[in-house]
Symmetry: C2
Subunit: 166 residues, 2 copies
C-alpha cells in the first residue's frame, strides 16, 4: 500500500476502533485533501474531517461513517471536494456512494469489501477512482462485530433479517 | 393529486417554508407510513419524521431535506421503511437517492424537478415508484431562493460556479 494511503486508511481505522469501543458499529472514514496534483495519493497530514458510524451513539440512521466524516469536515465550497481522497474501512453503501457522487470526490480508498460490497460499480461508472485494500485488520474488526451484533448490522444496511420477514 | 399525496407533500412544503424563513435552503421532506397495503397512497395522518435542509442552520453539508426527515424519524427496523412514502419538495440528489435505495423505500413523491433534476432514473431502475407533481408552489419557492442566493445553492449540490473554476 502506498505510504499516504496507509496513513489515510489508518485514520479511518482509528475511527472504526473508537466506534467499536463505544459499543457502536465499527466503520470509520476520513476525508483528506490532495496536496500534490501530480500524485493523487499525496494527501495532507491532517484530514479535513473524520468520523465513524453513529447509529448507536446518536440514534442516527444517517450518520454512516462516510457521512460523519463529511459532516465533521463542515461546509466546504464545491471546488474543495474535487481534490480529495475519501478513506473508509468498508465498501460504501448506496447513501454514502451518493454523497461521494454529489460532491464529486474523485478518489475513494476502501479498507475491505469482503463483509459488505456497496456501490463500487456505480462509483467507477461515474469516473471515481476506487481502490480496495483488502485490509485484514478492517476485515477482522467488521467480521467480529457482525458476529456479535447481527441485528444491529442488518438495521444499518436496511436489510430485513430472514426471521422478521416471515 | 391524490388527497393523501397532497397531505404528504403539504408537510414537506411546510418544512421547506420553515427553512426559507430561517434563512436556509428551502427544501423540505416527510416520511409517511403507508396505512393500507392495497393502496400505497393511503398514508398515516402523522409522518414518521419530517425535516428540511440544514446547511445554513447547522452548518451541515449532509442534512439535505430527505436526510433530515430520515434522521428525525430516528432508528427504525429495516422492515418499517419497506412500507413508506417519502415526500420531498425537490427531486432528490444522488446522496438522498442513495438513502432511499439503502432503506428500500418503495415510493417517492416529488414536488418538482424543474429547478433541479436528481437521480430519478436510478430510483426507477431499482423499482422505486417515483411521482413528480410539478407543483407550482414548490417551483416558485425554489426558483426564488436560487435567484436570491445562487452561491448557497451551488454549494448544496456540489457544483462549482463558473466564476470559481477559471
Amino acid at each position: 500500500m502506498h505510504q499516504m494511503d496507509a496513513h489515510g486508511l489508518r485514520a479511518a481505522l482509528e475511527e472504526a476502533q473508537i466506534g467499536y469501543a463505544e459499543g457502536g458499529i465499527p466503520i470509520g472514514s476520513a476525508l483528506f485533501q490532495t496536496l500534490d496534483v501530480s500524485d493523487s495519493r499525496a494527501v495532507t497530514a491532517s484530514p479535513l474531517g473524520r468520523g465513524h458510524n453513529m447509529r448507536v451513539q446518536r440514534d442516527s440512521p444517517t450518520l454512516h461513517a462516510e457521512i460523519s466524516a463529511l459532516e465533521n469536515a463542515g461546509r466546504l465550497k464545491a471546488l474543495a471536494y474535487k481534490n480529495c481522497t475519501l478513506y473508509t474501512t468498508l465498501s460504501p453503501c448506496s447513501m454514502c456512494t451518493g454523497a461521494i457522487l454529489l460532491y464529486g470526490i474523485p478518489r475513494v480508498v476502501i479498507g475491505e469489501n469482503a463483509n459488505f460490497r456497496g456501490s463500487e460499480d456505480l462509483l467507477r461508472s461515474h469516473g471515481v477512482e476506487v481502490i480496495v485494500q483488502d485490509d485484514d485488520t478492517c476485515k477482522e474488526l467488521m467480521a467480529r462485530f457482525i458476529r456479535e451484533k447481527p441485528e444491529l448490522w442488518f438495521e444499518d444496511i436496511g436489510e430485513v433479517p430472514e426471521t422478521d420477514s416471515s
